[in-house]
Amino acid sequence: MHHPISRRRFLLSSSKGVVAAAIPIFMAKNMEKAFAMPIGKEMQLKDYLEHFGVNEASIREVMGIALSRGGDYCDLYFEHAISSAIGLEDKAVNRAYSTVDFGVGIRVLKGDQTGYSFTEEITPKAMKLAAKTAANIASAGKSAPPVGLKQHNTPSYYPIETPWEQVSIDRKIPYLQKINDKVFAQDPRVIKSRMWFTDETTYIMVATSDGKIVCDYQPMTQIAVTCTAEQNGKREQNYFDLSGRRGIEFFTPENVDRLAKEAVRRTVSLFDAVKPEAGEMEVVLAAGSSGILLHEAIGHGMEADFNRKEISIFSDKMNKPVAEKFVTIVDDGTNPNIRGSINVDDEGNDTERTYLVENGILRSYLHDHISARHYKVKPTGNGRRQSFRFSPQPRMRNTYMLPGPHKKEQIIASVKDGLYAESFSNGQVLIGAGDFTFYVKSGYLIENGQLTKPVKDVNIIGNGPEVLKNIVMVADDLAMAEGGWTCGKNGQGVPVSQGLPTVKVSKITVGGVKS
């Protein structure tokens, strides 16, 4: 079903079924042979051109067809994504998955209008046919293709030691076995544990009709551990994961240990959990993945496509105060090895740190090519897409709040009766009304300035602009989320991350029960 609004949700790729979402994968011993010799970051533009079987002349010929009906801009997005996963269930690594996805997407613009097609066969004939299809968005005139393509160099925000193509399956298997042993050794109440180790390597090359060609190598990995425990006939389940644009060196003995310990701790702590009272209360958000608040409360609403259409609750608030002076919120593509970082966006634009809110004032939307042209501003590097099958849209990268003037202890001590929210599974927002939610998997009650009973499974719902105004304290302990977050919008998922210092919201509705 095509439900753009209901699909504008934020979900954790590993929360269920993992692999259905993260898609298959593997890597046999000799897989690297499938590639031309250089791999990973060593690949140069000429290697990408060779890899995709094209050259400057053939790209320009396709662009000529794309622009033959009067389109004023076009781009070609070449992609080769290879992903692999191994899974452990019932104490054995007994399943593996792999996926190869290969193709080129051709987009033609006429003002704000988009024509799009893709082909999985990168042959001159198939590309020309796709270009002809995409060209149909326009119906009069003819534009010229670029006279030449100039390579645009990118920074390197995600260096890794070993490309995933060089990591064979037998090197990955022991990681899950070790985590499994530690999970069961940790607590006798654990009865089941399931885990996944996924990696993905994506090679992209973008060529634009304004004469730019750019390529990028994008690694990604995740280990996710779910755990079920039983106590006095009662069962609980929870999970923990680590993800990033990293190589296998990320899974140090310390991180392997944390994956096991955190998954178990988060599960067994639920046995004592209670439901909070229903209604509005003070909520303290723990530093880290609580940045989901920003993603939902403001991030989506600042995506420029919604504002161009005037359907965002933030559409009329630019350069106005929206929060206390100590609140600064950014969306950043440059954080080293973080899941939402990109060296270049999927339209070939440079990425950056974009200030959504600076010292309490609303400052910038998140732009893709179309919206930047519409607003006559420089693109912010937020044009992203799930794959060559989709046209790009303004999307978040890593969304977080900069540190503030308060201390964590001071913030918790200031709450008489409230909720401390620690781990989250998913969220969603209605762009125009501003209603947003996030689901608290675990946290604590705060009573008289102290963390007391654990809390589980409560949804929090608020209104974006209202909640921004109600951020009354911000600590100095910014932490980034470590897990594998995936943002969904109009049916496209992209990897993102978020972060937050400890923050106090003076009033927000918590889904509890009436006592």
């Binding site: 690594v93 593996a96 792999s98 399956i169 209604g279």
Partner: protein, 440 residues
């Protein structure tokens, strides 16, 4: 590739897999064509047209299992891909429960025509698609001058799939899907811009509602949200409109799967034959509904589809058991996922239910939230309308409902007569008593 070539290709890939050392293999070749249109401000906003093909492969080698997919269908690339797939499988731990389904479960006898493919698909022309989207937009805009934005859309798709198993199964499926509708945003006071949508999806082009109805419904839904606000927390009777009610059935259905049971993540473990919901609830899984969005002759493991009663007057009759977890649990496989979910429908319409409720909340949409399949606990954000003396008195939003799945479904008091027609889950409007709402 045409149909015959796809079957030949699948068989070739299956043979390659066996030659590389697998004992068993399953290959699926899928083809799909999609056309999508977005319309806004009286012109095309987006036009997308594409065709895709892919192969997926399941490898069973010496009790070891792996699964793979690729869209690079050049023969030499597929050969290499298969070689790698089988080679890596050897590193895995043996799993005695891994094998293709027993051929006794495969379909036999004549094929039923499910009527899920519309021959008119090929005849739909570009200009017609644009005309529909334009008419939807016009109908929406005509409803009010408070409308800020309408994005209407139309899309159609056609898919064909062939599946071959090395122990004697060959199956094909083919279908079409058409959908159309709109998203509408309206002005509400100083800065509120509530939005809503109305989309329909059908197997046959002629079953789509008229553009006028689609546009009008989308606009009316958004307009009805003007002035929305949260109210005092409390325990209310709740009516859930048909298009939203699948969310609540989902919290029961997920835990009915063999995988959840075997992994001890299901609050429905040990509940076969027991009362898990009110007597008003009878649920049937019917794969043979004509033109059904979930209709099929066999499932993703080749197992023949059957009509089954899942819940009878509140008593759980069957789980959803797939081949692998069925073997692990020692249970007969019967289809690991839902097909068309039908209820035993009641006699009351949504309007009847509202009229007879002195005080309560009509929930017409869920916003985020989640549920815990191990315990049944849930908490969801909602949008809706307050009901007083049988009338809708004001729109509400920014509230949550919370509770436990078993308690909620035991408090089901009325099942409506209005199955949602645009989804494989044909769930009607439902009324529950005593639900916890949190607001102010």
């Amino acid at each position: 590739m045409n149909r015959k070539e796809r079957i030949e290709f699948a068989k070739w890939a299956m043979d390659r897999t066996l030659k590389c050392g697998a004992n068993q293999a399953a290959v699926v070749i899928s083809y799909g064509r999609d056309i999508e249109i977005e319309y806004r401000d009286k012109r095309l906003e987006k036009l997308q047209e594409s065709t895709s093909s892919s192969m997926s492969l399941q490898v069973y080698a010496q009790n070891r299992y792996s699964a793979h997919s690729t869209n690079d269908l050049r023969k030499e690339a597929v050969e290499k891909f298969i070689e790698n797939a089988v080679a890596m499988t050897k590193y895995l731990t043996e799993d005695p429960h891994r094998s293709l389904a027993d051929p006794k479960y495969y379909p036999t006898g004549p094929k039923t025509d499910l009527k899920i493919r519309d021959a008119a698909y090929e005849k739909v022309e570009s200009a017609e698609r644009v005309k529909i989207a334009a008419a939807i937009e016009a109908a929406a805009l005509a409803q009010s001058n408070q409308i800020i934005s309408v994005t209407s859309g139309y899309n159609d798709s056609h898919y064909e799939t062939v599946r071959v198993h090395s122990n004697g199964f060959t199956g094909e499926s083919e279908g079409t899907v058409f959908s159309a509708g709109a998203e509408v945003t309206v002005k509400d006071g100083e800065s509120g811009r509530p939005e809503d949508w109305y989309y329909a999806s059908t197997r046959f082009y002629n079953d789509l509602p008229s553009p006028e109805i689609l546009g009008k419904n989308a606009a009316e839904r958004a307009l009805r949200k003007i002035g929305q606000d949260k109210i005092e927390s409390g325990i209310f009777d709740m009516i859930v409109e048909n298009r939203a009610s699948s969310r609540l059935f989902g919290i029961l259905q997920g835990p009915m799967t063999a995988s959840a049971l075997q992994q001890k993540n299901s609050f429905l473990e040990g509940m076969l034959g027991k009362q898990i919901a009110s007597e008003k609830l009878t649920v049937i899984d019917d794969p043979f509904v004509e033109a059904g969005m979930g209709s099929r002759l066999f499932d993703s493991e080749g197992i023949a589809a059957k009509r089954r009663v899942i819940i009878d007057k509140g008593v759980l009759q069957q789980y959803y058991v797939d081949n692998y977890y069925g073997k692990k649990l020692g249970m007969e496989p019967n289809g690991g996922s839902t097909t068309n979910v039908l209820f035993e429908y009641g006699t009351q319409s949504l309007e009847d239910m509202i009229k007879s409720l002195p005080k309560g909340i009509l929930v017409n949409g869920f916003v985020g939230g989640n549920s815990n399949s191990t315990t049944g606990d849930f908490s969801f954000g909602i949008t809706g309308l307050l009901i007083e003396d049988g009338r809708l008195v004001k729109p509400i939003n920014e509230m949550n409902i919370s509770g436990n799945a078993l308690e909620l479904w035991k408090n089901l008091v009325t099942v409506g007569n209005d199955p949602y027609p645009y989804s494989s889950w044909r769930i009607p409007s439902l009324q529950f008593s005593g639900v916890n709402f949190s607001g102010i």
